[in-house]
Symmetry: C2
Subunit: 456 residues, 2 copies
């Protein structure tokens, strides 16, 4: 009898959790089905990529992207939709870059592109001898005597032995970020950086570089991995080789732009906000389909899906389409400042900015208890492609919310193809799989829902 | 003191496992690194896809693929390399298929392709009224009165709600496999089958269909998903619509071809064989890069990698490149018969025939104890992309080995993009990611090694 009572007490304690879990599971299935059957994200990405195109901060395309997404979110009729002003840098690429060098009587035309933030060259171009290094450390060991007057060629590849390509990127990207500044300090006149790409191909990868007021600016370009290999061989044969390149990029005056924000108010705890976002801007050479058109349309899909299903989340869900992630993260700062000023309570922010690839994980930067709670939902998400919840993650745009105690979550799609297209002319809509994009949106919408219903 | 002794006994019992596990882990890392740094699979796939192309059984391309892979394996100098004769069907597509119908005065030209094994039409083509059904069951309910003299149009889409696309394929493919035979029994004169594709696009998907000697053959084609939607709409507006198509496909006399086999003899248990394989043949409309050029070059990579690293596996490792998976599986039967005749002991067979996409799992058809053993290696493979070992799996080519007690293992890459390209003109080399292909090869080579060293 005593055992029976204990059993019943145990059952009663367990039952609510069981019921919640079952209702979560059914709701999540509905959310996933809605997106797989009638998702809007793929056609919105088509428009963003093919009708608007690359959307660098300050460009007319960035403005068009703000208007396009704002109009859609307005038409959807969410509880509030607004534009948040952001002052952004306005860097322009100018005319298509040119580069050449000679191997004997053969003129070699490598494919290059200016790094974001670089100054241009003289009109007739820059010509100088090239010195190849594998790292900033190697550059510094050579010292100004060997560097002065030269073009520094950073040629350390992304290490293929990192299974996660973002780790290989992190390991190599200092050449692009700090290469020009460090070379200039030693008297270099220009910089060529091997593209941050996983493959050997002819697509140069642009990306932002550091510019310091106290260091003289020198022109800096990325060279395709194929051409980096060729140039390196040519230098082995002729160490006095001179390299020429011409760029007309320039930094213009800052421009006002916007974060685009839409919200569904929570039905029970409206003051607790969950952000889901990506960034509206992209580089200018491709159409920014993976980086980060995918994150934009997936974030919009979350709100669209709840609305389409008539779901009333307990907490407030806010879709934030950030401006200027690529070269300044001004939208990120502006949003965090706004949240702080209004003393808003952000319980979680989820960013999708790793491409529209097949879902694999979420990664969370939070405390142990919250991580444990997030992990209780992993088995539910597993059937939709999420293997696990990792113990770190976030995103450039949501990063500044951390100091307000917000749990930061990064959506982690498979990373193997990302650095084939990242920041290149081939980051285009045709590289995105409809199903992969939709499954990403589905898992994000599911996780946001679980946090909204159960808190964090 | 007693406790200390017990502890030491425990430690001694545990130590060998620990050491084995450590040595496994190091060896696997070497195998993976070798493939990521100096893998041959991607360039071999380039050749197979771009220099040879689609390799349907009986074609000169299939013959070229046999010669190409045999020559490479010979040159690698494995312990034995041989050709195993297989009599294969020889179906030819003939001239490019044509199809048309009229919507008012507008001539619509849908994209179609003959199903493998179909007979052709008359020279002037086949024209008849169309009756649309969603299933064979619906066809049978209509009965011969409504079907006689008509072209049956099977138009049940792959269900997007199956998260694993192979399940959606399995759910829809009866229309292609049995549609013509069942329609013919009721007096239909031709068949159009909606392509087994995840997307709405203009690429028809071919594939094998059943042909029974006792049932009259009727011409059967696949129509692209886009054109299936259009045709369905046109039929709603005009149920008396007639559809015309012209095909000159035909089945010729059987041809001798080969499985290509190479082996590294085991250093300790040479009589225990582990097979790793894919299929050499492919459909003729694309270049068969994913289906199954990927599996071919990955299987070859396993042997290549051991050789390159100077590894001597304890058990015999046999790479089998099967002929005729697509339309007969004659290579599979021939291989199993050979193994049986020679009383060989196959402890495991691993097939890669689900595309060269990013690795996600292995699936094994075996007993509980062996499954449990396979699962002990999952944590080791996790860092290279394998989430889990599923409790079912295998492949068409290795299937017949089951009755000999062989554990069947299917390599499971991510399936979301497979049915975008499967059996179409866009199953081409450019759709394969080098890193995804290599990581697949790496995980397969790792698993084969673990089985070889530890038994099963």
């Amino acid at each position: 009898m005593k055992n029976k009572i204990l059993f019943l007490i145990g059952l009663m304690a367990f039952l609510p959790n069981l019921l919640i879990a079952q209702s979560d599971s059914l709701q999540v299935r509905k959310i996933v089905n809605q997106i797989l059957l009638d998702g809007q994200c793929y056609k919105r990405l088509d428009y963003l990529s093919n009708s608007i195109g690359g959307r660098l901060s300050g460009s007319k395309e960035a403005e068009a992207a703000v208007n396009y997404t704002f109009d859609i979110l307005k038409k959807e009729g969410f509880d509030s939709v607004w534009l948040q002003p952001v002052l952004v840098p306005h860097w322009v690429r100018g005319q298509k870059e040119e580069a050449w060098y000679w191997v004997g009587k053969k003129k070699i035309i490598p494919t290059i592109c200016a790094l974001g933030g670089s100054c241009g060259t003289d009109k007739k171009g820059l010509e100088a001898e090239v010195i190849e290094v594998k790292s900033i450390k190697e550059l510094q060991a050579l010292g100004s005597e060997k560097i002065k007057g030269k073009i520094v060629f950073y040629n350390r590849p992304m290490n293929p032995l990192f299974i996660k390509t973002f780790e290989a990127y992190g390991d190599a990207v200092d050449q692009r970020a700090a290469g020009a500044v460090e070379a200039s300090k030693l008297g270099a006149v220009g910089v060529i950086v091997r593209s941050m790409g996983s493959n050997i191909d002819k697509h140069p990868h642009t990306g932002v570089m550091r510019v310091l007021p106290e260091v003289k600016q020198i022109p800096a370009c990325a060279i395709s991995t194929f051409d980096a290999e060729e140039l390196s061989l040519a230098l082995k044969a002729n160490s006095r080789l001179t390299f020429s390149f011409k760029m007309s990029c320039a930094t213009l005056a800052d421009v006002w732009s916007y974060n685009v924000v839409a919200q569904i108010n929570g039905s029970e705890k409206a003051d607790e906000i969950i952000v889901v976002g990506g960034h509206l801007d992209s580089w200018d050479n491709g159409d920014g389909a993976h980086d980060d058109g995918a994150g934009v349309v997936q974030s919009m899909e979350v709100l669209h899906t709840y609305k389409a299903l008539g779901l009333k989340p307990k907490r407030s869900i806010r879709c934030v389409l950030f401006m200027n992630e690529e070269n300044g993260a001004k939208g990120a700062s502006a949003y965090a400042a706004f949240a702080k000023q209004n003393q808003e309570k952000h319980i979680a922010a989820i960013e999708s900015d790793a491409g529209g690839f097949t879902p694999r994980n979420f990664g969370a930067t939070t405390d142990d208890a919250k991580l444990a709670k997030l992990r209780t939902w992993a088995p539910l998400l597993k059937q939709y492609g999420i293997e696990e919840v990792l113990s770190s993650g976030g995103g450039v745009d949501i990063g500044p919310l951390k100091e307000q105690g917000c749990t930061l979550i990064g959506f982690g799609p498979d990373s193997q193809r990302y650095f084939d297209v990242h920041h290149t002319a081939v980051d285009t809509f045709d590289k995105v799989s409809k199903r992969e994009l939709e499954l990403g949106a589905a898992n994000i919408a599911a996780l946001v829902w679980l946090i909204s219903e159960n808190g964090l």
